[in-house]
């Protein structure tokens, strides 16, 4: 029997919701693993390892959910995503290493944190998606 194909818009919505769920779960487990050892279980190593492991496993789920989401996009949407990822990755490498050099040479008065790099990747990726979408509107 021929399987009935799900409409594109419905499938996309389903995959976006799925990705939002996994991303939300990853953020929550990240917050638990980061602040749990400070405010909840007070440096209990076993609980910290469990929380970090859970965060890692949920992160893997988020990656697979993102792959499924990308595979459900059409060719133009994939092109927009690819360009945005290229910009975000390029900026992460170039900007991240330059930022690290600024820290090592003591030009900036604070430590270069990995979280700053994550913020740079997030902002550049979102900006590139918005620009890409407006370019092909």
């Amino acid at each position: 029997m021929k399987e009935k194909k799900e409409p594109r818009a419905k499938l996309e919505r389903k995959n976006i919701l799925n990705l939002a769920f996994w991303t939300g779960a990853w953020v929550i487990t990240m917050a638990i693993s980061t602040y749990g050892s400070i405010y909840i279980w007070e440096s209990n190593a076993l609980l910290s390892v469990l929380a970090i492991s859970l965060n890692f496993v949920v992160g893997i789920g988020m990656i697979f959910s993102n792959i499924r989401h990308l595979n459900s996009l059409d060719e133009l949407q994939r092109k927009i995503q690819l360009e945005a990822m290229g910009i975000a990755l390029g900026l992460a490498v170039v900007g991240g290493l330059a930022y690290s050099s600024l820290d090592q040479t003591n030009i900036i008065g604070y430590n270069a944190e990995i979280s700053h790099l994550v913020i740079l990747i997030g902002i550049s990726y979102m900006a590139a998606i918005l620009i890409g979408n407006s370019r092909y509107r």
Binding site: K5, P7, R8, A9, E12, D74, E75, L76, Q77, K79, N133, R135, Y136, R137
Partner: protein
């Protein structure tokens, strides 16, 4: 690349949304192709040509 999709769509009385659904892409993609901002892949060009019962060369022309 120039194309006749907008004209053919009007002849077949299809909206961008309806054409997008028939060839399994988003409305944004059909709009970008019509405006010449995006060149479709060969499989998508085949789908469009099959739908309008024309050859790819008759629908898409290299500028």
């Amino acid at each position: 690349m120039k194309n006749k999709i907008k004209v053919l769509r009007a002849e077949y009385e299809l909206t961008q949304e309806q054409l997008a659904e028939k060839v399994d892409v988003s409305r944004q993609t059909i709009n970008a192709i019509e405006k010449g901002k995006f060149d479709p892949s060969l499989p998508l060009a085949f789908k469009i040509s099959k739908l309008f019962k024309m050859s790819i060369e008759d629908i898409f022309q290299n500028e």
